[in-house]
C-alpha cells in the first residue's frame, strides 16, 4: 500500500500532472465565473429556470432581460469556449515545465492551433467554430496545447531565431489544419456518428441495466471532460417521460408509472446532486473532513453553482477532472445511488419522478418536485447524500496523503 502511495506520489510529480495542475489553476477563476454566470442566466433569469419559476423573478426584477444577456455573454465567453483557454494554458505551461521558463507566445500558438481545428467555413464570410468542440472540448484543447508545447520545445534553438520559429509555427498550423480537414471529412462521411451515443431508451435488454450502464458511461466521459449520453438536467421530452407524465396526469398520481427506470427517474432524480459524480457530496465531505485550505476555499466557492447542478468549477478546482484518485468514486457513487433508488422504486416504496421540474432544480429536490411532493423521495435524497459523503471521505484522505508525499519528494 505504501509503495502504491509512493508510486502515485511520484506520478503526481510527473511533468504531465504538473502541466495539468497549473493549467487548472489558471482555468479555475474563469470556469467559476462562467458556471456562476450560466446558473444566473438559466436558473435565475430565464423563465423556465428553477428560481425564476418559483419566485417569479422575471416578473418583478427590473432589467432582467439585460442582465440575462450580460450573464449569457459572460457564460459564452468563459465556459462556452473553455477548450480555448485549455489550449492556451497547456501550451504555455508545457513549455514552462520543460524549459523552466515560458513566454506568452507559446500559449498564443496553442490557442491559435485550437482555433484552427475548431474553425468551420461558412458561406457569406461569417466566422463560425465547431460548437461542441468549443464548449465540451477541454480535453481536445489540452491535448492540442500539449502537442503544440512539445513541438515548440522539441527544437533546441533559442526563440530569437526567427527562421526556426517560423518553421515550427508552419508545422503546428499545418497539423492543425489537417486535423480540421480530417474532422470535417469524417463528419461528412458520417464516421463520427459512431461516437455519438444517443437515445435515453433501450432498444433491447432490461431498462434498469441500460440506465445504470449509460449513467456510468456519462460519469466516465464527464470525468474526461466530454458530455455523456445523459444530459445535465432532465428534459422531460423523451417518449418514456411523456408516457409517464400522461399516465400520471390521467391517474392523478405519480404511482405505477409505466416506465419506472429511466434517466429522469433514476439518474437525474437521485444520482446527479450538484452535477455529475454527486459533486454536492464531495463539497460537503471536503468542508467537513478536509483541513486543506486550498480545497476548502475551492469547495466554498463552488457551492453556488453546484447547488444548481453545475459541477464544472469543482471538477477543475479540486481537481477531479483527469484525476485517477477520484475516478472510482466519481463513477461508483452515482451508480450506488441509482441502484438504491431503483430498489425503492421496485419495492413500490417510492413513486417515480414524472412531473417536469424547471431547469436547474437543486438535485435533491428533483425527485421531490417530480413526484409532486413525495416526502419519502426527499428523505431518500438526503439519506443518499449522507452515504455519498461517507463514500467520498477515504478518497479525499487518499488525495491529501498523495499530495503530501508528493510534496515531500520535492
Amino acid at each position: 500500500m505504501n509503495r502504491l502511495l509512493m508510486l502515485t506520489a511520484s506520478a503526481y510529480r510527473s511533468k504531465v500532472v504538473q502541466i495539468t495542475e497549473q493549467t487548472f489553476q489558471l482555468l479555475f477563476p474563469v470556469i467559476l465565473l462562467g458556471s456562476s454566470a450560466e446558473v444566473l442566466q438559466f436558473v435565475f433569469l430565464t423563465a423556465s429556470g428553477y428560481v425564476a419559476t418559483i419566485f417569479n423573478v422575471p416578473q418583478w426584477l427590473p432589467f432582467d432581460r439585460e442582465l440575462s444577456v450580460l450573464m449569457g455573454t459572460v457564460y459564452h465567453c468563459t465556459l462556452g469556449m473553455v477548450g480555448l483557454y485549455g489550449a492556451y494554458g497547456t501550451s504555455y505551461f508545457t513549455v514552462k515545465v520543460y524549459r523552466r521558463q515560458s513566454s506568452p507566445s507559446a500559449g498564443l500558438i496553442g490557442l491559435l492551433a485550437f482555433l484552427m481545428i475548431a474553425f468551420q467555413p461558412r458561406n457569406g464570410g461569417r466566422v463560425a467554430f465547431n460548437p461542441p468542440l468549443m464548449a465540451e472540448g477541454l480535453l481536445v484543447g489540452m491535448l492540442v496545447g500539449y502537442v503544440c508545447g512539445r513541438i515548440l520545445i522539441a527544437f533546441k534553438n533559442q526563440q530569437t531565431n526567427w527562421g526556426q520559429m517560423m518553421w515550427r509555427l508552419a508545422l503546428i498550423f499545418a497539423l492543425a489544419i489537417s486535423v480540421n480537414l480530417l474532422m470535417s471529412y469524417l463528419r461528412r462521411t458520417g464516421a463520427l456518428s459512431v461516437l455519438v451515443i444517443s437515445g435515453p431508451q433501450p432498444t433491447s435488454g432490461h431498462p434498469l441495466t441500460f440506465v445504470l450502464m449509460m449513467g456510468a458511461l456519462t460519469e466516465l466521459l464527464s470525468w474526461i471532460g466530454i458530455g455523456g449520453p445523459f444530459t445535465a438536467s432532465p428534459t422531460f421530452t423523451d417518449p418514456a417521460s411523456i408516457a409517464n407524465l400522461n399516465h400520471a396526469l390521467k391517474a392523478g398520481s405519480p404511482w405505477n408509472a409505466p416506465h419506472l427506470y429511466t434517466d429522469t427517474t433514476l439518474f437525474h432524480s437521485f444520482a446527479n446532486f450538484g452535477g455529475n459524480g454527486v459533486m454536492l457530496a464531495l463539497i460537503i465531505a471536503i468542508l467537513i473532513f478536509s483541513k486543506q485550505a486550498g480545497s476548502r476555499t475551492v469547495s466554498k466557492w463552488s457551492i453556488f453553482p453546484a447547488v444548481f447542478n453545475s459541477h464544472y468549477a469543482m471538477m477543475v478546482g479540486i481537481p477531479v477532472l483527469f484525476n485517477p484518485i477520484f475516478l472510482l468514486p466519481f463513477v461508483l457513487v452515482p451508480v450506488v445511488n441509482m441502484t438504491i433508488a431503483a430498489m425503492f422504486l421496485a419495492l413500490h416504496w417510492l413513486p417515480a419522478a414524472v412531473y417536469p421540474v424547471p431547469a436547474g432544480t437543486p438535485g435533491p429536490l428533483i425527485a421531490f418536485l417530480g413526484t409532486n411532493g413525495n416526502w419519502a423521495s426527499l428523505l431518500l435524497g438526503i439519506f443518499l447524500i449522507a452515504i455519498d459523503v461517507l463514500m467520498y471521505v477515504p478518497f479525499i484522505k487518499l488525495a491529501e496523503r498523495v499530495q503530501k508525499s508528493a510534496g515531500e519528494l520535492k
Binding site: E38, Y355, L365
Partner: protein, 289 residues
C-alpha cells in the same frame, strides 16, 4: 463571536432557508401539476357518432365532409364496425395532433327494436373500451342519430359508470331519437322509455344534452313522432347539467335526411367540437453543464 458560535448561526440560517425553499417549491409544484392535469384533460376530445337502424358506419361520411369544408385542420374520421360476433373492424385513421377526431361506431346487426338496442349498447361498450385503450382520451362527446341516441343512452345508464372516474362524456346530441318509439302519446310509455326513466339516476350529472327533432309537419319528421323525440326530457331533464331541445324545419328536415341537414351540421359545429386546442408542456430547453 467564537468560531463555533459562527458555525451554528450559519447552520441555522441555512436550515431556515432550505425549509423555506422546500415549502415554496412544493406550493409551486402543486399548482403546476394541477394546471398540467387541466391541460392534459383538454387535449384529445373525440366526437363519437352512432348511426341509427338500417345504417352502417358509413352513414356520416357526407356529414363529416361538410363539417370539414374550408377547415385548415380537418377532423379525421375513424370508423369501427362491430360484427354480429362482437368482432371489431377499424378503418380510417386519426391524424397526429388532431384533437377532435370523429369516430363512427356502426353495427352489422342494425335492426330496430328494444332488444337489439340493448344488444347494440353492449356491443358499443366493447368498441368503446377498445377505442379508449387505443386513444387514451379523458373526455369525449357523442352524436347519436335516431336509434344511435337510444343506444348511447342505454350505454350511459348501464355500462358508463365503470369508466366515469377516468373518462368523462361532456356533451350528447341526439338527432331525431325516438325515445318512445312510434307512440304519439306520452301516456303510452314503451318498455324502453320506462326502463330509461327508471335508471335515469345513473346518468352523469355534468352532461350537456341537446335533443334535436326534425319536422316534416307539425307532429312528426315523417317517421318519428315529435312527442317521441321530446319524451327524452323525461329521461334527461333534471338529472343532467343542461338539457336543451331544438326543432329543425325546412328542407332536409325529414328523419333520414337529418344528418345532411345544413342547420344540424352547423349545430354540431357550434355546440359539439368546441374543445380547446391542446397546450404543449414546455420542454426544459436550456442545458446546464
Amino acid at each position: 463571536m467564537t468560531w463555533q458560535k459562527k458555525h451554528w448561526v450559519v447552520a441555522l440560517i441555512s436550515i431556515v432557508m432550505v425549509v423555506a425553499v422546500i415549502v415554496v417549491s412544493l406550493q409551486w409544484s402543486r399548482k403546476n401539476v394541477s394546471q398540467l392535469a387541466q391541460r392534459h384533460n383538454s387535449t384529445l376530445v373525440p366526437l363519437i357518432m352512432i348511426p341509427g337502424s338500417s345504417a352502417t358506419e358509413n352513414r356520416f361520411d357526407s356529414l363529416v365532409k361538410t363539417l370539414n369544408v374550408n377547415r385548415r385542420n380537418p377532423h379525421s374520421l375513424l370508423k369501427i364496425r362491430v360484427a354480429k360476433n362482437d368482432h371489431l373492424t377499424f378503418s380510417g385513421q386519426i391524424r397526429p395532433r388532431d384533437h377532435a377526431p370523429i369516430v363512427v361506431v356502426g353495427f352489422e346487426n342494425n335492426q330496430d327494436g328494444y332488444s337489439n338496442i340493448k344488444n347494440q349498447a353492449r356491443q358499443f361498450n366493447i368498441a368503446f373500451k377498445a377505442l379508449n385503450e387505443r386513444l387514451s382520451f379523458s373526455r369525449f362527446e357523442v352524436v347519436g342519430h335516431s336509434n344511435g341516441g337510444l343506444i348511447f343512452t342505454v350505454f350511459l345508464e348501464k355500462d358508463y359508470s365503470q369508466y366515469a372516474n377516468e373518462v368523462q362524456v361532456t356533451k350528447l346530441m341526439t338527432i331525431g331519437s325516438p325515445f318512445n318509439f312510434n307512440e304519439r302519446s306520452i301516456n303510452n310509455k314503451t318498455q324502453m322509455l320506462s326502463d330509461l326513466i327508471k335508471n335515469r339516476r345513473e346518468l352523469p350529472t355534468n352532461l350537456n344534452v341537446y335533443s334535436v327533432a326534425g319536422t316534416k309537419n307539425y307532429t312528426s319528421d315523417g317517421i318519428v313522432p315529435l312527442t317521441s323525440v321530446m319524451a327524452s326530457r323525461y329521461v334527461f331533464q333534471g338529472q343532467v347539467k343542461h338539457f336543451t331541445t331544438m326543432t329543425v324545419s325546412g328542407s332536409d328536415a325529414q328523419h333520414s335526411d337529418l344528418p345532411q341537414n345544413r342547420q344540424i351540421v352547423s349545430l354540431i359545429n357550434n355546440y359539439m367540437l368546441t374543445a380547446k386546442r391542446r397546450y404543449r408542456v414546455r420542454p426544459n430547453e436550456p442545458e446546464l453543464h
